[in-house]
Symmetry: C2
Subunit: 188 residues, 2 copies
């Protein structure tokens, strides 16, 4: 149940409403943990009920009021406890790998389009991450030296960049392999 903790981290970095959190989960923290607004509202309500979060109703003009959440003392303690609990190194859930193995029982050539789509998607993400890295950490406008929080955000982003680069290289390998086995014909 790491959504709770992802929300705690995000609210410690910056308090905000459920709606704002939902948008952060589309970028930034969402690069390595996803959540929809329905989930977020549900969890915020529960965490508030458990005393982990404080709420403040913020009236706004020209927009609906919002509830600004921030981390309460017990929430901070819960995060600290979680940081001390070991977690299991996670295993992959990779649909595309299942498809690739499944292609042996169908038409491997039909997968080329799909793999190319994924290749484009990952290239797009990589470009996006690199732009963010330059903007926030390595570019001319970025703060230097970085504080501890920024260093940690940066190393997480470097992980995302490494992941996308690795994935793109692997998808190239997959495409090459698909071409190789289809070139020699279905009977080989």
């Amino acid at each position: 149940m790491a959504l709770d903790h992802a929300i705690l981290v995000s609210l410690l970095e910056q308090p905000g409403s459920g709606y704002e959190l939902a948008r952060r989960f589309e970028r930034s923290i969402g690069y390595f943990w996803t959540a929809t607004h329905q989930q977020i509202y549900r969890v915020l309500k529960r965490m508030e009920g458990d005393g982990l979060l404080d709420v403040r109703e913020v009236p706004q003009q020209g927009r609906p009021d919002k509830k600004e959440y921030s981390v309460a003392g017990p929430g901070r303690a819960a995060l600290a406890q979680w940081l001390r609990d070991p977690i299991e190194p996670e295993s992959l859930r990779h649909d595309l790998a299942v498809k690739i193995r499944g292609a042996a029982f169908d038409d491997p050539a039909a997968l080329v389009r799909e793999v190319e789509r994924h290749h484009r998607a990952h290239s797009g993400r990589l470009a996006h991450y690199l732009a963010g890295e330059s903007r926030d950490f390595t570019g001319p406008g970025a703060p230097a030296p970085l504080d501890a929080g920024q260093e940690l955000q940066h190393v997480v982003l470097r992980g995302g960049i490494a992941y996308e680069r690795m994935t793109i290289a692997w998808l190239d390998d997959v495409l090459e392999t698909l071409h190789r086995i289809t070139a020699r014909g279905p009977g080989a």
Copy 2:
């Protein structure tokens, strides 16, 4: 719902019982898709009810009888259809990244142990994958040339190897970063 399809692929590669499938999901296909036996039995029953699988009761001596499942015609068609449906490039779910960002609000040094544990786990997996690669695909006892199915299994395994190598390198980066920010003291 890719568990269904992972099961179809695995049963096409080799028919087997729920128990055998559960063990395959601890290695092989389990490298990129996990499932417990409870899940597998539930899904097998449903898929059999839907006519996607055939069952054969196999009596055994000295062991409980088993139900050997194999893919029926409609199951093969369902897999072919799924292979044609585009899937979304998946997003990561990376607890450790959440922890790393969260460490900014606690003690970053306390994470070193945890990161080292993950490093060891991934190194172990890499060694395991490399042994499998040598045994099945590149070593002296491996078949050559590989058929299409083997080529596809190999490229998926290369993906796992690339993932573990990338992860290990990133964890080195994380450790270095943690040391750097703790060396300069909590107030920096």
